[in-house]
Symmetry: C2
Subunit: 220 residues, 2 copies
DNA sequence: AGAGTTATTTTGACTAATCAAAATAGTTGG
DNA sequence: CCAACTATTTTGATTAGTCAAAATAACTCT
């Protein structure tokens, strides 16, 4: 069985490879895992020996099929657990990420399947992140963000790609959660400011970096 | 924070000290944890240095107040998780012990409280084992067992104190679960056999060792 | 092309938890 | 009361995962 550390390395390589093909540089992997670069190098070599990922020295890493299978399963656990914590236990969506980081390594495949059924086989977690299927398929649709979308149009938030508690509390407080509707009234790339209108008449301003974390689609 | 290993040592000292005061011998602790005796000695010395238990060399160990507090919290997590797995996820009671062994170390106190509320603050888990309260109180009532109770009387099973999957599947198959009623028709200490009658007319025979794992009370 | 910067890898050391096997203490039976 | 047995502790090694800091490779900029 893969240890907690192994599962975390594989999961973060998956998350950082965004889609599938590019190499993930050691630096970003080490940063994501909060370890020093040398530690990541050592661990990656061991994982490569185990056939879970491919290491191209000085360039980066890429998951093998086996590594990807494990990583997707961990991600599925993470996101289903988050959904459970919000839907069933009524926890605040800003807190469930940290909880799921622990639970994703302790939930068995059988418990996972039963959670999935209890929740009605959800496709997204509370942040709008897609939940990999048991077979390892994951929706990889590309969305515009509040930093890149057209202004003026009516939009719906589909996903908030940032897990920090502070950010999510801010988003919650500003009505920026998946499903919410809004439009971008103004975007100034010089000042780095994005202004939003909510249907209830409220307005929100945020920086482009934050705006880039919020994915939207045109209102259907 | 206590590591998984530390939580397991403390939990097993609690379970083996049965009540509170006696010293738990190193041998039984090592056996319960499935480690060699030397490992248990080393770990116990470290835990004693941390003030989580008291080590009397060559005699055994006993929890301190701090160690007991942690152990009770882990046990509470274990038993509430088991209850959740059976009640909410409809898992077989013979399998939930192994699952809970993992989850007890990953569930936060906040999730624990919410699980407790979801389940309606249960007092026993699916095996009839008492669930420690958040304050650390645990019901320590002493019951007779099928190996020690009077014969002929009408009884109700209150608890099955054995977690192995095989034993629990046997118990389930023989109708021996908490709440079930029965009476002991015969007990032969020479042959080591105990015979039971069920209200539905069925009979069950089992050895005294197994009978000792099943706690009963006179039917109210 | 060479100097400087940046990313990565290497090396050496450390901690937690474990095992195997030798040493020691305690207990018990003749 | 001593020999033998049993339980416990000690000692020496091992593994997984980590950090700090030195070494190396690669890239960039004039």
């Amino acid at each position: 069985m893969a240890t907690v550390a192994v599962e975390n390395y594989l999961k973060h390589v998956l998350l950082l490879s965004d889609g599938a093909e590019e190499l993930v540089p050691m630096g970003s992997l080490a940063a994501a895992l909060a370890v020093v670069p040398g530690t990541a190098t050592a661990m990656v070599k061991a994982l490569a020996d185990d056939g879970l990922l491919e290491h191209q020295p000085r360039l980066g890493v890429r998951l093998t099929t086996r590594g990807r299978r494990i990583a997707l399963n961990v991600l599925r656990k993470h996101r289903l657990v988050e959904t459970f914590l919000v839907e069933t236990l009524k926890m605040d969506w800003s807190k469930v990420h940290a909880e799921a980081e622990q639970l994703e390594h302790a939930v068995s495949d059988e418990v996972l399947d039963r959670l999935d059924a209890l929740l009605g086989h959800p496709r997204q977690d509370p942040h709008g992140d897609p939940i990999p299927s048991r077979a390892g398929k994951i929706d990889s649709q590309v969305y515009a963000t509040l930093a890149t979308c057209a202004t003026g149009r009516r939009l719906r938030i589909v996903r908030v790609t940032e897990q920090s508690e502070e950010f999510l509390r801010f988003a919650e407080g500003s009505g920026l959660r998946p499903g919410a509707e809004l439009s971008v009234t103004e975007r100034n790339l010089v000042s780095g400011l994005v202004a939003l209108d909510r249907p209830d008449g409220g307005t929100v301003a945020l920086g482009v970096a934050a705006a880039g974390k919020i994915l939207v689609e045109p209102r259907g």
